[in-house]
Symmetry: C2
Subunit: 237 residues, 2 copies
């Protein structure tokens, strides 16, 4: 038969295998037919079968080993795509009014606090910014931002009263590595006042470090009132 369904052959092979896994016909650890067998089943070349299986493997659905064959991946950790967007985009995507305010700006040699954030990587001047992002005129995110001026000298002259530093940095600076820590923390006195929440209220905090090669570029601490913000991720297989 080979009722030519929609799309290319490799996609049809992927769909058929995924359907068998989803329906439980092939469960965790089950061995999938070899490339040669599938070549006969789908009446196509081995390269086409190989591409389908290779993509499923790169998506974590199956695990392949020479001689041992292809098996449905045993359950372990799963990788979930978590999309991180600029704060202004995040808010306007939700259909809210967005407003940004620069609360404080200070430039000077790296003090102990900055060195702690940067993990001892900064010796020269550091720019520290404190910003508030509003959604519908309510505080949505408090952004504390440290920028390593050794790595990004042009940030010293940038005007951050209109453009949030996150947006400016994404446009201006290439980066090679990033790290992000998501946690729940009680609001300290200063944070509570700026975010207009009770002292000790639950905040969702994202701390993000960004490097260019070995040099740290920036550290951001983004705090959100727990009552108004969450991260949502979806996945399917």
């Amino acid at each position: 038969m080979s009722g030519r369904q929609a799309g290319p052959t490799y996609a049809r092979i992927k769909r058929d295998i995924l359907a068998k896994i989803r329906q439980g016909e092939w469960c965790d650890g089950h061995r999938i037919p070899s490339e040669m067998e599938l070549t006969r089943t789908f009446d196509c070349s081995r390269m086409t079968v190989h591409r389908a299986l290779r993509e499923l493997a790169s998506e974590g659905v199956v695990t392949r080993r020479r001689r041992a064959g292809t098996r449905v991946t045993l359950e372990g950790g799963r990788n979930v795509l978590l999309e991180i967007a600029r704060t202004d985009k995040l808010i306007t995507d939700l259909g809210h009014d967005y407003r940004y305010e620069l609360v404080a700006r200070a430039r000077g040699p790296a003090d102990a606090e900055a060195r702690a954030k940067f993990g001892s990587g900064a010796q020269g001047d550091v720019l520290k910014l404190v910003c508030l992002h509003y959604a519908n005129e309510k505080p949505f995110q408090l952004e504390e931002r440290w920028i390593n001026l050794e790595a990004v000298p042009s940030a010293g002259d940038a005007d951050f009263t209109k453009t949030p530093p996150g947006t400016w940095l994404l446009r201006a600076i290439p980066w090679s590595d990033a790290e992000q820590i998501i946690s729940a923390q009680p609001a300290a006195a200063g944070e509570a006042k700026l975010l207009d929440v009770e002292l000790g209220a639950a905040l969702l905090v994202i701390e993000r470090r960004t490097w260019l090669d070995r040099a740290i570029v920036t550290f951001a601490r983004l705090s959100h009132p727990g009552s108004v913000y969450h991260l949502k991720t979806t996945l399917s297989r």
Copy 2:
């Protein structure tokens, strides 16, 4: 010639292109040579070049359009990999002792609470479990779990005093879609007592729904004391 560096040809092509992007030689929006040109540059077949470019496109590094060519992807949102693991694996990976305890188990028709969690998808019996996961004998995660027994009848007979429901479900049940919401919430009275924290303390809460086709399988609310738990993600390009 073709100074055979390490690894297969397609990987070398990917590395070379990524290096040019990282070093800023090809910046956002820059057009990359066509497959035919790269075929000559790297002295290999077009399929090999195609594979390298296709993988870079699937990783979001480049964007490809027929006739228009291949370009370095313009900056937009970023995708971050967030790894989600079973709680027992999470704790033992950190080098801590793991202990699990079933606090409560109740079976009955879906009440208003369960229908709210399931988004009105459940009509029949529901199994509700409350579990505690300890790391080094300190409460690490409070798991409140609802299982739709219409979708998973065998869960009604499973023994959850030894095996955590998350582990059991991952092994027993295929799934097709999942949704996850990460938030910061204050500890309610019952949660505070079980987790041994102050009333109103900041909790990092993960709520996860899992479906098989259209039917909801399970809803889990996983609460962690903010002081002992965080999610960490890293990425590089």
